[in-house]
């Protein structure tokens, strides 16, 4: 086997530059797995940014992957808006009651400040600590929920879908307020030392809204917001489809697109080649039951269709490996990517 000669940062930068690095980089996006690593209950684990930083560094040493992931949980953002997180022993925290139950409150809504939001400050602490200890050897990834997708948690998905279709006045005002928040939150992450901000925008996926509506809503929001964050941004639809809006996504200013597991990765690669790098698209839910042999088969399949020519990072499709996925599976993923991901991918012929 050819010895890896690049640092993780060099490897990822090469892939994002649509070139072939020494091997395919891999991002097992580990969140609650960190609690298991430190032997802590999930609630206690997420109580301090230092726990997340420590676990991320330990897990990278253990599995040998190519990123540190500062994302804690989506409901941390909703806490900033007055919402709550509901904790479980065996999965990520979920949002409690939506804080914006009455849509009429939108007209007087003001964005919360990052400095006043303990749940966000914890994530910034995690980024700073990782940056201090890892330097520039490995990319640090962090997350913002897009202003367009955030209302699914702020007000509940049903109320939000009705707002999108029936109250354009309130939608416009909500986007204005959310954009201010997301830009400040994204910039704070960049200032803290993140390498790239992952822009989670599941509502914009054609799985949730039709392209015609996306072009009038989520697309416009993304174009305005991403350019103001001031750092590299990756687009993630959290398992949603993206092929029908690929051309539009390229225009939002992102250089990376995370692929869902319901789409043909080979087809996506063909459409994206030379235009935007891809991340994906292993099925994290199925991964829970995979044997090491099945892991190898899936990794090999993804690399075979998306690896040639570079511009590809192996990962899951949802942005989070479930807590139920064993260390054995993650180890097997690493072994497979090191075995089959070395460039040039001569084995394909």
């Amino acid at each position: 086997m050819v010895r890896s000669s690049m640092t993780s940062m060099e490897r990822v930068v090469a892939a994002l530059s649509l070139k072939e690095p020494d091997r395919v980089p891999w991002f097992p996006l580990l969140t609650t797995t960190g609690a298991r690593e430190l032997g802590l209950p999930i609630r206690e684990y997420f109580s301090k940014g230092s726990n997340v930083a420590e676990a991320q560094l330990r897990m990278r040493k253990k599995f040998g992957h190519d990123c540190l992931y500062a994302f804690m949980h989506a409901s941390a953002e909703v806490e900033a808006w007055g919402g709550e997180s509901v904790y479980y022993d065996d999965g990520p925290p979920n949002c409690g009651m939506p804080p914006l139950a009455d849509p009429e409150r939108i007209m007087s809504l003001q964005p919360p400040r990052v400095k006043d939001s303990p749940s966000l400050i914890k994530a910034l602490d995690a980024i700073r600590l990782m940056k201090e200890r890892a330097g520039d050897e490995v990319p640090i990834l962090s997350v913002v929920i897009s202003p367009f997708s955030l209302p699914a948690m702020q007000m509940g998905l049903e109320s939000y879908l009705l707002l999108i279709h029936e109250r354009q006045d309130l939608l416009a005002r909500l986007m204005e307020v959310n954009e201010e928040f997301t830009v400040e939150w994204g910039r704070a992450q960049v200032d803290a030392g993140t390498t790239a901000v992952v822009y989670f925008d599941p509502l914009s996926s054609p799985t949730i809204i039709p392209r015609e509506l996306y072009l009038k809503t989520g697309f416009q929001v993304a174009r305005r917001t991403i350019s103001r964050i001031g750092g590299p941004v990756a687009m993630h639809f959290a398992s949603g489809r993206c092929i029908p809006i690929l051309d539009d996504v390229v225009q939002t200013g992102v250089g990376v697109l995370c692929a869902g597991c319901e789409e043909d990765l080979g087809e996506l690669k063909r459409l994206a080649k030379g235009r935007i790098a891809l991340v994906g698209n292993l099925n994290g839910l199925e991964m829970r039951r995979w044997s090491p042999a099945r892991v190898e088969e899936e990794v090999k399949r993804a690399i075979a269709v998306a690896g040639p020519g570079g511009g590809f990072i192996l990962s899951d499709s949802h942005g989070e490996i479930p807590w139920q996925v064993s260390d054995e599976v993650i180890f097997a993923m690493g072994e497979a990517v090191r075995r089959w991901g070395e460039y040039p991918l001569d084995w394909r012929s």
């Binding site: 509901v86 479980y88 065996d90 999965g91 990520p92 979920n94 949002c95 409690g96 009651m97 939506p98 699914a152 509940g156 998905l157 049903e158 879908l161 999108i164 279709h165 054609p206 799985t207 949730i208 809204i209 039709p210 509506l213 398992s239 489809r241 029908p244 597991c261 319901e262 789409e263 099925n283 839910l285 199925e286 829970r288 039951r289 479930p322 807590w323 139920q324």
Partner: protein, 213 residues
């Protein structure tokens, strides 16, 4: 005279355009001699089932299916007499979301049930123990459970255990993102079937109720 397919297709087009007035006009056309229940069974239910399949195939979006379901629910609510709870001949149906406050999936199933004339007990968001208690108290025979998170989906196994202790058969149908993205998960939890989209629930109810309506 329009064919059944033409009527259903026109109705579906009105739904996708979110055109409530046109959908209402088509469903209440005075020149249509069919009984109201026939119009629902032949126009509304097929249209919703087809939209569900189109969503699975990635050809329409969830928002279109959801808004269409709301329109159908409203129209059928105006056309059909209201039932407080199931009456003779129907399986007694319960509907719940398991341990989650995000209930869009359950809401879409509720709209489908209403639009297809199936009364049901709505249990809201509950945990496994409470759900089994409610099923026992109401004599539910067919339980529909929606989940959003993987850990909630795995807790369907607890619901199954509780139902098995009731000493009478209760069919368990599950749905939601974890089941759709992990096609073997419903078997693992002990469910009897899985809905890939909300409208699929109608054919599954028919299957488990022992025939069509």
């Amino acid at each position: 005279m329009k064919s059944r397919e033409e009527r259903s297709s026109e109705f579906e087009a009105a739904l996708l355009a979110l055109d409530r007035l046109e959908a209402a006009r088509l469903l209440t056309d005075e020149g249509d001699e069919r009984h109201v229940t026939a119009r629902i069974e032949q126009d509304v239910v097929p249209a919703m089932e087809r939209l569900g399949r189109l969503w699975e195939d990635g050809r329409v979006s969830l928002s279109q299916v959801y808004m269409s379901g709301r329109i159908c629910e409203e129209l059928v609510g105006r056309l059909l007499p209201q039932h407080a709870e199931p009456s003779g001949g129907d399986a007694r149906i319960g509907l719940a979301v398991l341990e989650d406050r995000h209930i869009l999936g359950k809401r879409m199933v509720a709209a489908t049930l209403t639009a297809s004339g199936h009364p049901f007990f709505d249990y809201g968001s509950v945990n496994a123990e409470t759900l089994v208690e409610r099923v026992e108290a109401d004599g539910v025979e067919l339980l529909l459970v929606s989940t959003l998170m993987l850990n909630s989906a795995l807790r369907v196994a607890k619901v199954r255990e509780g139902l098995d202790r009731l000493g009478r058969p209760v069919r368990l149908i599950v749905g939601g993102a974890p089941f759709r993205l992990e096609p073997e998960l419903w078997r693992e939890t002990g469910a009897d079937a899985m809905c890939r989209n909300a409208s699929e629930v109608v054919s599954l109810i028919d299957r488990f109720s022992g025939g069509g309506r």
